[in-house]
């Protein structure tokens, strides 16, 4: 990873966008990379749009993904895809709830970790770093269900999509 990886996570307040970006940042940090994660707080808990920028690599300067330069766009709410699509660079990867089978999740609140699992197949971050990151970001009793959701998302992304 000689260059900066730009990930934009988006969704609505309460969906765990910030939590997902915390886990991603922590995992990249545990790989010894420089990480910057930037978000807008404030009104987010009241159901409004939330976005969090995560950048990592050897050296990261601006904390925000420059417009149109996201390598990965992870969107937790289907109605927030179009709002954020322009942030994705040409050839960038879009990850949406359609990438996973939400009915397989024990808890719908762990969609954020499922989509991180899907994202993980594109990143050079070892599984144990992800697990450590989740352990550090969740209370012990919530770790297992989130790891399960992550693994589900990862498997779903590795298998060919059933959808056209």
């Amino acid at each position: 990873m000689s260059t900066v990886i730009n990930v934009l996570l988006a969704g609505l307040g309460g969906q765990g966008v910030i939590k997902a970006s915390a886990v991603l940042s922590e995992a990249a940090f545990r790989c010894g990379l420089e990480v910057k994660q930037s978000e807008l707080h404030g009104m987010s808990q009241r159901g409004g749009s939330v976005r969090s920028d995560v950048r990592f690599g050897r050296k990261v300067l601006s904390p925000m993904v420059p417009p149109g330069e996201a390598d990965f766009l992870v969107v937790l709410a289907p109605d927030q895809v179009e709002v954020n699509r322009a942030e994705l660079r040409v050839g960038g990867v879009l990850i949406t709830p359609e990438c996973v089978d939400a009915s397989q999740l024990a808890n719908s609140k762990s969609l954020n970790m499922a989509l991180l699992g899907a994202l993980s197949t594109h990143l050079d971050i070892p599984a144990e770093r992800w697990a450590e990151a989740m352990r550090s970001c969740f209370p012990a009793k919530l770790y297992a269900s989130n790891q399960h959701a992550f693994d589900h998302g990862r498997q779903a992304s590795l298998q060919p999509s059933p959808r056209p």
């Binding site: 990480v35 994660q37 930037s38 417009p67």
Partner: protein, 537 residues
Amino acid sequence: MSTTNRQLLSGNQAIALASRHAGVALGTGYPGTPSTEILEHFALVGGKAQWAPNEKVAMEVAIGAAYAGARALVTMKHVGLNVAADPFFSAAYTGVMGGLVVVSADDPGMASSQNEQDNRRYAVAAGVPMLEPADSQEAYDFTLAAIEISERWRVPVLLRVTTRICHTRALVSPRLDLPPPPAPHFVRDLRGRNLIPSNARPAHPRLRGKLAEMEAWNESCALNQVIPGDRELGIVTSGVCAMHAREAAPQARLLKLGFTHPLPMARIQEFVRSVCRCVVIEENDPYLADALRARGMVVESSPKQFRFGELNVDRVRRILARDDSPEPARAAGKPPELCEGCSHRVVFQALRDLDCIVAGDIGCYALGVLPPFSAMDCCVCMGSSIGIGLGLRHTLPEGEAKRVVSVIGDSTFVHSGMTGLAEMIYNPPSTGHVVIILDNSTTAMTGHQEHPGTGRNLMHQPTGKVVYEDLARAMGVRQVIVAPLGKDSLEFEGLVRRSLDSGELVVIVARRPCVLVAKHIRAYEKCPVGAEVTCPQ
């Protein structure tokens, strides 16, 4: 690469950790995005942190601590410094003994604020030194530097941060070798700290003398850095803009200023002369550009449109390219709304249906201005609802005056509503007035902080409690009605209608805990005094 000792911290957390490591004896402030987490984290890492009723009181408490020789931290959002400006300006004259760090968290782009005022102007106006960190590591380092500067020159130091510093998590290597802070003790200084005119007159030149010394010291201060690059393009910048600029123009020579008041003018002059073209990159006001031009330096600044909103790498590229063409509009996201089950919904439904003229205030309930309620006619600043409601009452024709209601949240009422209530008692409108205190038992908007009306301190432990109905009665309001809010707005609507019709001065305390925090409150209430560590978060 070793990660030993390094931590991933937001700028806010970094300020808190540095304060803790420096032995700050007291952290105080009022919640306000993007500053709020500083005190919460300071408490988490073992510091003594407390919420004040408002920023002015917080500033005064911090000044008192610094007079005692203790190190003190006071935090607020940018508009909070307006409230705290009075003691802030005077503390510059009296000076301090212990280090006093005043954190102003500015919000370029107004992610959650009513304006994008540039508090760098306050450093100039008050005559205090100012530091501007560019990332979390600098937030940590500059907090330590601020304490050092404050104690060396015995002045408060303004640590000016912005939303992207506060809310960006980045790597921080803390220092482990810090000496313990000096022990607090009282030193009487009658002439220094009593700003009667005969003492204040010598205090002003004394402050200017300190500023001149600091400017000279700043000329070689390590808080300012030159990043080497081509002489074709030079950039003078500070704060997070330095990061955007380095990324947008990696080839440029860059002067990144960290100690931004008083400015090291000779050093800047030398830098400007060393490059062919010099551009100032800054958010909000042309603070640096104006100061440099006033000294006769030839520098470029941004086209007008970049004065609005925060900068990013793309916008800096445009500035450097002198591109003032319209920028692509970003798609609007989904606006926030009052939560499902929020008690404010009942109130705004009633006010809408009664066609009230609503003087509103700052808090979640400002969302009452959005559909489906559209039931707020103004929202200006903390506590303004009562004064503005009274002004409307005094001057509108009677038929309209009778429809005016002031709506203010519980935390906001403690912050700045009590003086409004005194005004109402003292100068009552002929049609009476109705003030509704929306008591949801928390400072909801900023993330559920306690306040003097909740009866719990920053750590959610029980403490003294301000009871609004008792307070209003004691101040002389005869009609004080406590209205527990149900799910149905009709009952509340009837109460407001009767209150409006009475022509009297009425305070209604509309009470129901915030839906997001009710279960936490129940848990706090179960905890015995001093057992806060076992409370669920």
